[in-house]
């Protein structure tokens, strides 16, 4: 059996590449309601860890909604709520440090993927992630019967000692791609929706193809309100955060 040569491993990201899947988060619309966090956990079989473990910062949520305070009472303000999930960097700091290639770049989907069955739990990737969005299964967290009935069969249930993080709901991307392929067409804009974007009551999270200049997310990503988290690090994040407030007539 002649096995064709497997391509060499190399850095996948090239300067100027816009990536394939992307997200735009409008912080002016985000109300901090946490619907995305619950939706994500329900879709992706994310376990809850309980009060004590949560206090140690071991919550396993794949998104967190950040907020900071500015000033002191009475001139105190809260910064806009900012949902932070894996930024699916084009040049991801987590990837080169994994000794077992469990944190790899998906060439096909242009996403950072975590291969659970390879992961040996060194947690190097989490240490190297500037966004602190990787979470580690410190234990097999208890989900007593019949809670496991709710598990999503499209997503692997992770065990102790495995790193995990937001996947942009790749199972939904695959479902949409598979459906489109079966029908002999391209994936429509908005057809693949991660659980967070689907749930968001304010429609603050928009997801879609970045390589389609006409998609909603591409247009938002080009907006002059947009910025990337820690973009000076050169990580090429695929999530654009939009600030608001410039067209406020009364303000």
């Amino acid at each position: 059996m002649a096995i064709p040569k497997i391509p060499e491993f190399k850095a996948e990201w090239k300067e100027g590449e816009e990536g394939r899947w992307g997200m735009a988060v409008d912080m002016d619309l985000c109300t901090g309601c946490q619907a995305c966090v619950v939706a994500c956990s329900m879709e992706n079989n994310v376990p809850f860890v309980g009060e004590a473990e949560a206090g140690y910062g071991r919550s396993l949520g794949w998104i967190r909604v950040e907020r900071l305070w500015e000033g002191q009472y009475p001139e105190v303000k809260m910064t806009p709520y900012q949902p932070v999930m894996c930024q699916q960097c084009g040049s991801a700091p987590c990837e080169p440090v994994c000794p077992v290639f469990a944190t790899v770049h998906s060439q096909a989907e242009q996403l950072n993927v975590q291969v659970y069955n390879r992961c040996v739990g060194t947690r190097y990737c989490a240490n190297n992630c500037p966004y602190v969005v990787r979470v580690f299964n410190w234990a097999d967290f208890d989900r007593p019967d019949p809670l496991p009935n709710q598990f999503n069969p499209d997503v692997t249930v992770r065990r102790r000692g495995v790193m995990e993080k937001c996947t942009f709901c790749i199972q939904r991307i695959h479902r949409a791609e598979d459906q489109a392929k079966a029908e002999g067409r391209e994936v429509l804009d908005g057809e693949a929706q991660p659980a967070c974007a689907q749930a968001c009551p304010a429609d603050a999270i928009v997801f879609g193809r970045l390589d389609d200049p006409e998609s909603r997310v591409s247009k938002l990503s080009r907006s002059n309100r947009g910025s990337h988290l820690l973009e000076e690090l050169g990580t090429q994040p695929r999530v654009t955060y939009l600030k608001g407030g410039s067209n406020d007539r009364l303000g």
Partner: protein, 718 residues
Amino acid sequence: MTDSFTRRDFLKVMGAGAAATVLTGCGPASRYVTREPYTKMPEYTYNGQSTYYATTCRECAAGCGLILRTHQGRAIKAEGNKFHPLNQGKTCARGQATLHGMYNPDRVQFPAQHARGDATLTEMDWDAAIAVVQKALQDPQGTQFLLGTASDHLFDLVTDVCQAVGAPSPLRFGALSMFEARATLGEASRAVFGKPDLLFFDIANADLVISFGANFLETWLSPVAYTRGYAQMRRGDVRGHFVQLEPRLSETAAKADEWYPLLPGAEGLVVSALGKLFAEQKFGVAPAAFEMVDLAAAAEASGLTLEQFERLAALLLRAERPVILPGGAALAQAEGLETAKAILTLNALLDNLGKAGGVFHTPAAPLADSYHRPASAAEISALVKRMNAGEVNTLLVHGVNPLFELPAALGLEAALQKVKTVISFATFPDETALAADYIFPDHHGLESWGYQRVQTGAGQSALSGSQPVVVPYYNTRATADVLIAAAGDALPFKDEVEFLQSKVAALVEAPGGFYSAADLPSFWALFQQYGGWWQNDSSASAPSAAGALEKKLTFHAPEAAHAEGEHEEFSLYVYPSPILAEAGANKPWLQEIADPTTTVMWNSWLEMNPETAHHLGIEDDDVVRVISPAGEVEVSVYRYPAIRPDVVAIPFGQGHTAYGRYAENRGVNPALLFSAETNAAGDLAFGGVKVKIEKTGKKRPLSRLESKMGVYGFGEEH
């Protein structure tokens, strides 16, 4: 009804095999699992493919439409119903977590009898259970139903049952309606607009929203619909401006462009002041409604300044489509009814009634004969009196947990002792269920038939439909079926589905529907398919406020908290937890969600201004005793940077003594601190409660998502 049978066959399924497969996780391939196919393949179903059912969320009374993804007979994920006029495909955190209520390990699993207060249940069979209910209905005068705010179909059925047997009308209650002061809003709407109504505030099209404590992005009335409206307001060509006035910066206020921390109870004065300033500058003369107010005194009493009043009046003058929201915290005050009237009158003065971005009458929900608002605290008090007088022999409770949700000061716990038989239909062993003699568990909302009226949030007249998405997991039975069986010939229905069909039959002919059907069976099929019935076009109508501006409104300065001596007094501000609301504490993922403002998880906290804390020598996580005339609780302090120094706040939602392992003995219930004082509309006036804070010397760390460094950092002087 054949539908109900086929559905059960539909879901007669394997579960175990599939669950076993999933459970093995990343482990070695489990070779000897079994895969059990359907015995009969349900129509339109394929092995291994998900089936989606439209139903209605029952986590609050709003009535959002859900689409449940089910897989091989298990419910996997709740998603929003895109066609539903209220939530348009979106859900809130509580809606997402509804599955953790259904697949919760602590549900009541069978009909049972038990000694009051004892958690050990003795199993009964359903025939015996029905006989118990039957016996209760034979003494109609002594029978009282107490229902929750969801679901409406059960309320309608119970109303029918009570009429048929001659029992007093059922009462409804929900903690959220108490915090929203719905009776006050309804009464104010009746007084100002001539029609009791929850009203619809079109913030989507407003260019200025001034909200008096309305937490419409959290729990207020219909949070998903109002969040959508908020997003639309911000997304417009001209970004709408949003001002929030409340003593602490809530999740909603965090989104406001301007936040004014006013003293609780001073809302009426501020509204009047704004009305006076606006009218004087716009028309040269203030209407009778607002002319009484003394601006300087109002500023003094509310803790705001005259400049801030001027600023707000200037905003009102420049705005084209302003709207003022009456939040529950502003209404649940001694003068709450007057405040509500003042806010509605100010809207009338701003001339936004029935206009884009203004105030509308919600169209009557389908099948609504009149506006059924939940009971006010005064009405519950009346029930407690009747119970104490021995007039209630049987109390039947469904969908509400009054022992937890009502202020202890109302005395319900003692009154329950006077009731011979208490029957609970709770799905969870909550506080009230454990104080009952019988628990006849209803199905979880996702296992149930039903409908819920959309009372507010959408311009269309809408009825949300529920259908079972999975076979009931435990030996539970629909309360409607139990009542129909117990009522016997008094009701002309065989079961719940027949009752529902008799009700929705009226809609088959109704004009302007989202779909139309020639006959009831096809209508019923579409009703399940789309998850309800609604009109295509908005039929919200313009309220008329004839003469309202001429009615004088007077307000008194709220009693300020005393700040003298060792025992400093604070105004207590209680708000429903944005994540847990009234009944979310039993869902583990909701417990783990960080509070949007403090990021605290799995517990209660007391919010205190850092300056005040510093002055009292209190640090984060210090346990303090909060003492009100009605009771006291011990709770950890969270130094909250955005709260008035003379106010402390505790979220409502924790502090259960029952209600499953995830809720029990966790946090405190601030309802223990409320007095039984009510306002003129009968709503609890909890806004005026004053508390003393005592240090206990104990420390109990709060788990929070934000860094342990806290807001100001460890050990840093400020």
